[in-house]
């Protein structure tokens, strides 16, 4: 990495890297949508979104807008899953009586299952479109 790299080349390099990680995390979470996988996916979405925002003046506007919209939908959905994961973990703590776990556990697991199915559907949609190749092209990231 040289200090004189142009901003454009640097942005392309970083965005390519972030998109590769995001694509990996999407497939990983699709295979096994556990709490850690969902968390890591959300982190990779945030990182990629931050790249889109930071380098917005260098990236095609309309494509960036569409991608951000898609990412927002995924964040909203995974947020519902994550909230249930955190709460289930809280209830699993030994200091809580089993009655509380019995009272809320099945409902939370059911709700998580519903969101998980919606998540699987969204990933299927993304994959069918080959989202990473599509976004790479749309953002003109093939330059470097």
């Amino acid at each position: 990495m040289t200090s004189n790299i142009s901003l454009q080349d640097y942005a392309i390099e970083q965005m390519n890297r972030l998109l590769t990680t995001l694509a990996f995390q999407v497939h990983r979470a699709a295979k096994k949508p556990g709490p850690d996988e969902i968390h890591d996916l959300r982190v990779s979405i945030r990182r990629f979104s931050q790249g889109l925002e930071l380098f917005s003046s260098l990236l095609p506007k309309s494509e960036s807008k569409k991608i951000r919209h898609a990412l927002k939908g995924m964040m909203r959905l995974t947020s519902s899953i994550r909230d249930r994961d955190i709460t289930l973990e809280f209830l699993a703590d030994s200091q809580h009586t089993s009655s509380r776990r019995l009272m809320h556990g099945p409902r939370l697991a059911r709700e998580r299952g519903t969101y998980q199915r919606q998540f699987a559907e969204m990933v299927r949609h993304w994959s069918a479109q080959d989202f990473s190749a599509k976004w790479r092209n749309g953002l003109s990231l093939r330059g470097v």
């Binding site: 040289t2 790299i5 901003l7 930071l54 909230d83 809280f90 509380r100 809320h104 939370l108």
Partner: protein, 166 residues
């Protein structure tokens, strides 16, 4: 804060990041030191993530020294995350009156931890240190001292130790 395509990536980072650091510290002081409801911390938590991920985007231009700064930010993010977790639990279990008190108490504890973390992060001179570091040119490797200079320094250190022992 816009980037300037006519300047190199490194120049852009040196101009953007110190300003971002100042804004970030100001936002933190407002959000954490002020008497604000916990849900307003949510905005600052997102701000923390944005700041961290922006710094990490420029990490290749700063090198491993940046990690020392990122470490503090990660710790703060962890404390903010704990508060956020309890807020999420509160939302999901809002109908359970028995647990309500327990969650509120836990949240209070996490808010106390957060204030503690923030004070450590924003201790005397930290903002200045951040800004100076981020504005500096880290592309040039630091000049290595000659073998002679290292040996001279060791000799001086040795004689001081010997004098102390006497």
């Amino acid at each position: 804060m816009k980037l300037k395509p006519s300047k190199s990536a490194s120049q852009n980072a040196r101009e953007l990041l110190p300003k971002m650091a100042r804004k970030y510290f100001e936002a933190g002081r407002k959000a954490i030191e002020g008497k604000r409801p916990p849900d307003e911390l949510h905005g600052f938590r997102l701000e923390t993530k944005r700041f961290r991920y922006t710094l990490e985007l420029f990490r290749p231009l700063y090198g491993p020294n940046l990690d020392r700064y990122l470490k503090g930010l990660r710790e703060l993010q962890g404390a903010l995350g704990k508060v956020s977790d309890y807020q999420a639990i509160q939302r999901v279990l809002s109908r359970d009156r028995e647990l309500k008190r327990q969650i509120e108490d836990a949240l209070k504890g996490k808010l106390k931890d957060l204030r503690h973390s923030w004070r450590a992060f924003d201790s005397e001179g930290q903002l200045k240190r951040w800004r100076t570091y981020l504005a500096g040119d880290h592309s040039k490797p630091r000049a290595k001292r000659s073998v002679g200079a290292v040996a001279r320094k060791a000799a001086v250190r040795g004689s001081v130790k010997a004098a102390r022992a006497r």
